[in-house]
């Protein structure tokens, strides 16, 4: 009877892996996006709390990191407790964060002199455990540094987000290097939702889930966070992709 033997071996191995991953490995809390399409793709049904996530901008966003910052602000707004936001270049505009639901009384900014100090501040914040989320804007993130952040996040259950932001476009290829983060996202801007009148509608992004531990990569077209920090699928996409609709229409006509 080879199969039952196999099964016990496999289940033993699974147990051992789970023990290695720590007691919090199973039944970890997640922060869902509230969008079924996205949550379905993420193991556990949302961003795992107590782990490190990486977000970068696409195109010019790799340098200004504007969409990436707003994406993270939306996530942080939905977490509970204060948010530690570590930067080296202080150009965040707090009213914009307030517009996605992250009120100014909740965000504590840390202006670190260099990235080494920033990493140590992030780690300290993640270890503390009383914060809702710790966000850091970084250009370089080595395997060792990300591992430290990941371990610190695991020890306290705080959500850690690293916004990758470079000085030059050429440096953005650094985003391909392996790190210990659990998910890796790229947020690129897209033309906004068309309005019936002249004007700029709700911003739209292409959100790519480039890497996801125990999950598959995917990309989504989403609308920027609303006043509560929730992203949404564009209404014409909520009921199937435009291609599918076009096909249906042509089939009908």
């Amino acid at each position: 009877m080879p199969r039952p033997v196999d099964n016990t071996v496999v289940s033993e191995l699974r147990e051992r892996i789970q023990r290695l991953e720590g007691a919090s490995g199973r039944g970890r809390q997640v922060l869902p996006f509230g969008v079924t399409e996205i949550d379905r793709r993420l193991p556990g049904g949302g961003l795992v709390l107590g782990s490190l996530h990486e977000v970068a901008g696409g195109g010019n966003g790799a340098i200004d990191g504007a969409a990436a910052a707003l994406f993270c602000a939306g996530i942080a707004a939905r977490s509970k407790g204060k948010v530690l936001w570590c930067v080296t270049r202080p150009d965040l505009f707090a009213p914009a964060l307030a517009q996605v639901g992250l009120s100014p009384s909740r965000v504590i900014y840390v202006e670190a002199g260099d990235e080494k100090a920033l990493l140590s501040c992030m780690e300290e914040g993640l270890r503390h455990g009383g914060l809702g989320a710790v966000v850091g804007e970084l250009a370089r993130l080595s395997m060792t540094a990300s591992r430290r952040l990941q371990l610190a996040a695991e020890s306290s259950g705080t959500l850690g987000i690293a916004i990758r932001r470079w000085r030059r476009q050429a440096e953005a290829s650094d985003f391909g290097q392996p790190t210990a983060s659990v998910t890796r996202w790229r947020v690129s801007v897209m033309p906004s939702v068309p309005l019936p009148v002249p004007g700029v509608g709700r911003a739209r992004w292409l959100v790519e889930l480039i890497r996801c531990r125990a999950g598959e990569s995917a990309d989504f077209e989403v609308e920027a966070p609303d006043a509560k920090g929730r992203i949404a699928l564009p209404s014409e996409l909520a009921h199937g992709s435009p291609e599918a609709q076009a096909r249906r229409r042509s089939a009908a006509g």
Binding site: A66, L70, F93, P95, A98, P104, I108, A117, S192, V200
Partner: protein
């Protein structure tokens, strides 16, 4: 006459003039008696103020100086240059003209502050020898008689004295001269005896055998914190700033300073703050005495808190704020507070992270960019006046065609702040280019009247 103010110097008076001569030169001269004792007392008070504000090791350097060991303290004030200029400005604000210098040794800093600083000077590490080489011998903190004797012998600068054999000079002037030169050059250590007052709460511990291991230091630091907290509790105080001083066997000091955002009497938190920095201590040949001082203490009494059993209370992060503040400087930790102003860069105000929440909010009916450039950057545009958004614009060498735009949002200058803003106007537009990148641009001026602005276009922010 011992000293004269700027007005008197303009009138031709100089120190060391006879008072009668000065009175003959300037009619109605105000002459005040010198009071060296009161001066010394004031200097002592100033030293105590600097002790609370800048660094744990501070001493008065009579007749006219303060000496501060800023090792490990400058980063809390934004670096050595900023700390010095801030210090001089602070003195100037209270009516004292000060000059300040930082160097590796007390002697070199003393000479630099008096002979080179305009009004501040930072001597690079290890550069004190070249810096003071060309200064007059009077910069060496010597007895006036020795200075005079050296002049008679034809020595004018410190470099000349340092270059000749010591023995004949020592025979003539005593060991003082050689010692001062060595101290200034950094060959001989010169401890600073820190100023203390009886009001400061201090606990100390002497060791029979000098200690050096980091674990041992941490253990005794914890014991000292326990003792300090007991004294603080007796007096109903909480520490805002504590200094741990290490007296080494070679008669020099090392120090750790830790500050807190709110008064603290919790031993665990204080221990954490202090042990965080123990690695910065160089025990040398061993530490003989450790003393812990609450340099700055504020009343802290037990308070009754209302707790709701249903809701989970928000976690206290002041401990984290203290740790980060001691690491990178308390001023680099902040929150933003809304200010009622339509001018974007004035609508935010930095406040301390633990400041109470005022419940203010920005009006949310206009979109705001997530990145705001520190200085708006000039762009080249093609736009219809007065109230159309540009058709295209060039920013940082890249031309972008405007696909969609929103605006204008007119922001008027705040005439009550500056005369220049009496009629100034900015028209803000949110524009989106072909690729979907959204920017916040504005035109200085209303597009019709030239007095409202230059009609130049600027890019001020980037939307997400």
């Amino acid at each position: 006459m011992l000293s004269v103010n700027a007005a008197a110097i303009a009138a031709g008076l100089r120190p060391r003039m006879a008072a009668t001569k000065a009175q003959a030169l300037v009619a109605g001269l105000v002459v005040m008696d010198a009071d060296p004792a009161a001066d010394e007392e004031a200097l002592e008070r100033l030293a105590l103020w600097a002790l609370q504000r800048y660094a744990p090791i501070v001493a008065a350097d009579p007749p006219d100086g303060l000496v501060i060991d800023t090792t490990g303290a400058d980063h809390l004030h934004g670096g050595e240059d900023l700390m010095l200029s801030g210090m001089v400005n602070r003195f100037f604000g209270s009516g004292i003209e000060a000059r300040a210098a930082i160097a590796d040794t007390w002697g070199a800093a003393h000479a630099g502050a008096r002979f080179l600083a305009h009004p501040t000077l930072v001597v690079a590490p290890g550069a004190q020898q070249e810096t003071i080489r060309d200064l007059p011998v009077a910069a060496l903190r010597l007895d006036p008689a020795i200075v005079h004797g050296l002049r008679v012998l034809g020595f004018n600068t410190i470099g000349e004295v340092a270059g000749v054999p010591r023995a004949p000079l020592a025979l003539r002037f005593g060991p003082e001269l050689g010692r001062r030169i060595d101290q200034a050059m950094g060959e001989v250590a010169e401890p600073i005896d820190p100023v203390r007052t009886p009001e400061l709460i201090e606990v100390r511990r002497s060791f029979g055998e000098p200690i050096a291991a980091a674990e041992t230091i941490a253990r005794y630091a914890a014991k000292l914190v326990g003792a300090l907290c007991l004294v603080l509790e007796e007096r109903g105080l909480g520490a805002r700033r504590v200094d741990l001083l290490f007296h080494r066997v070679d008669n020099t000091y090392q120090a750790i300073r830790a500050g807190t955002a709110t008064p603290v009497r919790d031993a665990k938190r204080l221990i954490r703050l202090i042990t965080d920095r123990i690695e910065t201590i160089d025990p040398g040949f061993g530490i003989e005495i450790m003393s812990l001082t609450a340099t700055h203490a504020e009343p802290l009494v037990a308070r009754q808190v209302v707790s709701s059993l249903v809701e989970e209370p928000e976690a206290d992060v002041s401990g984290l704020i203290d740790i980060l503040g001691n690491r990178i400087g308390a001023r680099r930790l902040y929150r933003f507070q809304p200010v009622a102003s339509d001018v974007p860069e004035r609508s935010i105000n930095r406040i301390a992270p633990m400041a109470p929440d005022e419940g203010l909010a920005w009006p949310g009916h206009w979109p705001r960019p997530v990145r705001l450039l520190l200085h708006p950057e000039a762009i080249e545009t093609m736009a219809l006046l007065p109230d159309h958004p540009p058709v295209s614009f060039t920013w940082r060498g890249v031309r972008r065609r405007v696909k969609r735009a929103d605006g204008p949002e007119r922001v008027f200058g705040e005439w009550w702040k500056r005369d220049a803003e009496l009629v100034a106007v900015r028209d803000y537009f949110q524009v989106e280019d072909d690729a979907g990148e959204r920017y916040w641009i504005y035109r200085a001026g209303d597009g019709e009247h030239s007095e409202t602005g230059s009609h130049q276009w600027f890019l001020h922010g980037i939307f997400g």
